[in-house]
């Protein structure tokens, strides 16, 4: 068997595997375009014969998808800004020094990364309600998400800082820069890409966050899209085409970012904590 033929065969198998793997996504988009009766047809059709494009407009209106997505966006932006502002400096210091204290700090940070949100929400909820933070539900969720995701960010960005040669910073110091100046003018610009990719990863996670928002945001006008989707899916729902249309509107922006930045995201992920 020649190399070229082997490559073609492997590529075909790979495409087939990817198609099987991505079938749930395809099924979401197809179901969203079906009419109420086509959805429950047996055997189900795998291609929408009569696509209902108007479903997106009607779901957008009736479920107030715009407001939900806006809340998700606000929460994700808030959490990412907080994490980037606080976490970048922390990652920098942890990358610059190697001693026992840094090991202890990293160990504690890694331990915090693993605490399941659904278990931490009980004390956070009770504590926040005593502090009165629950009167500002989106702020409360932003704080909780920031605490949950910051360890992951710190570990990823630390790897980015480690790849910046320390000699460059030392040279800047010799040339009369302050530590402050060297950090902002030399180190930060060089690690920019790593920080950006990590921030995007954190953003996508925060955009889909559910446990904290579900537990802490009671007022419907502040709820993010994940909570909206959850309340759309009652126990005995049969509006699957509408639900899938909602899900498609929710997930398509994230998929678009992912496809555009796929290569960078994959390399960012594999260079950091998860190695």
């Amino acid at each position: 068997m020649s190399i070229a033929l082997r490559d073609k065969l492997m590529l075909m198998v790979a495409v087939l595997l990817a198609a099987v793997y991505l079938f749930p996504l395809y099924w979401m988009y197809v179901t969203a375009l079906k009419t109420g009766s086509a959805m429950f047809a047996s055997p189900p059709s795998f291609w929408p014969s009569d696509p209902q494009w108007s479903i997106y407009g009607s779901v957008w209106e009736s479920r107030n998808v715009g407001r939900y997505l806006w809340n998700s966006f606000v929460i994700a932006c808030g959490a990412v800004s907080l994490i980037v502002i606080l976490g970048t400096g922390c990652a920098y210091v942890l990358a610059r020094y190697r001693n026992a204290w840094v090991d202890v700090g990293l160990f504690l940070i890694l331990m915090l990364q693993v605490l399941p949100a659904s278990l931490m929400i009980t004390p956070i909820f009770v504590g926040f309600s005593q502090l009165g933070l629950l009167d500002y539900p989106r702020v409360a969720v932003i704080l909780a998400i920031a605490a949950k995701s910051m360890p992951f960010f710190v570990v990823l960005v630390r790897a980015a800082f480690m790849s910046v040669p320390m000699e460059l910073e030392e040279a800047a110091l010799v040339d009369g820069n302050s530590r402050f100046g060297a950090f902002f003018h030399i180190v930060l610009p060089l690690a920019r890409n790593g920080i950006l990719v990590s921030a995007i990863l954190i953003f996508m996670q925060a955009f889909g966050e559910f446990v904290y928002s579900k537990s802490m945001i009671q007022a419907i006008e502040y709820q993010p899209a994940s909570v909206g989707l959850n309340s759309f899916m009652g126990p005995n729902t049969n509006e699957w085409n509408n639900i899938m249309a909602y899900a498609a509107m929710y997930v398509t922006p994230i998929l678009a970012i992912f496809v555009l930045l796929q290569r960078r995201i994959v390399s960012g992920l594999t260079s950091g904590a998860l190695k």
Partner: protein, 300 residues
């Protein structure tokens, strides 16, 4: 005062300032709740005492009540089944895919990247899609299974107590394949290629090469991955909320969902905190294994 300012701008104070603010934040937002959780598990908490710190201490009463409930052991058993089945499925499929893409052909790295899609999707969306795929009467999975002759009648994945836990396991395996595959790919690409060439010259076949080179070289990656899989499956909450909500009759309930359900559905915060403490001890144990197996990486 001037010296302090100078040190913050240009000295050790700069580093200490950068690192201490985030650590204080993390301590306040993650460390304190952890401690508070333990305190609450020894207290009597109800709707009236929720707003005050001075609650009566009851010793181990919460723990005793918890283990005297009939559903406790089945739910812990479900948690174990969920974790073991999910990790086994994710790891096997992920490893097979990683090995397949590792052979290297045009387009392999791009196609492999597509598999990471599930990693960035909101858990609720994944749950909603699988909820619909697994639907009893009209689900496409039942249709495919019946057409291929694997089952005779529709399986009611979500409402049959024998299958409800497996419905979530299937969705979770789909979700977890991505990170298993990508991490194993990283591990595979780190194996020096000349080892295989030498073994091939010595006449080792594919299976022998896999068992004598690939597996031993991957030992630390696999250890880290299984520990990480344990951590991630114990964090899985969204799929339960979106597919079965722990039902029917707790047949698909697991500890991390139950803890939330007790606190926020039944307003029994003390019991919720008690389960949380027990599970967090488990997770901490897994993470010590994980940190130990990646320690040389972390030190860089």
């Amino acid at each position: 005062m001037r010296r302090l300012l100078l040190s913050i701008r240009d000295g050790r104070g700069f580093d200490i300032g950068l690192v201490s603010v985030p650590l204080i934040f993390l301590f306040a937002m993650a460390g304190l709740p952890l401690i508070y959780n333990i305190v609450m598990s020894f207290q009597e908490v109800d709707m009236f005492s929720l707003g005050t710190f001075a609650r009566p201490f009851v010793g181990f009463k919460n723990y005793i009540t918890l283990f005297s409930q009939p559903e406790t052991w089945p739910i812990l058993g479900n948690t174990a089944i969920f974790v073991v089945a999910s990790i086994a499925g994710q790891f096997t499929i992920g490893f097979a895919l990683a090995l397949f893409f590792w052979t290297g052909f045009p387009g392999s790295s791009w196609l492999r990247g597509l598999f990471l899609v599930s990693w960035v999707m909101p858990g609720l969306v994944v749950g909603a899609i699988w909820n619909w795929i697994l639907s009893g009467d009209f689900g496409v999975l039942n249709f495919l299974l019946k057409e291929s002759g694997l089952v005779a009648a529709n399986i009611f994945w979500r409402s049959d107590p024998n299958f409800s836990l497996w419905a979530v396991v299937i969705a979770n395996i789909w979700l977890g394949i991505s990170f298993n595959m990508i991490l194993l790919s990283v591990g595979l690409s780190a194996i020096p290629q000349d080892l295989y060439e030498a073994a091939e010259l010595d006449g080792a076949n594919v299976v022998q090469r896999f068992y004598t080179i690939t597996l031993p070289m991957m030992r630390s990656s696999i250890g880290a991955l299984v520990a990480l899989g344990l951590i991630f499956t114990l964090q899985q909450f969204d799929l339960f909320a979106a597919i079965t909500a722990g039902g029917p009759n707790n047949s698909s309930n697991v500890a991390q969902y139950w803890a939330w359900d007790l606190s926020f559905r039944q307003y029994d915060f003390a019991q919720g905190a008690t389960i949380s403490v027990i599970m967090i001890v488990f997770v901490m144990f897994a993470s010590v294994v994980y940190v130990r197996s990646t320690r040389h990486e972390v030190r860089g």
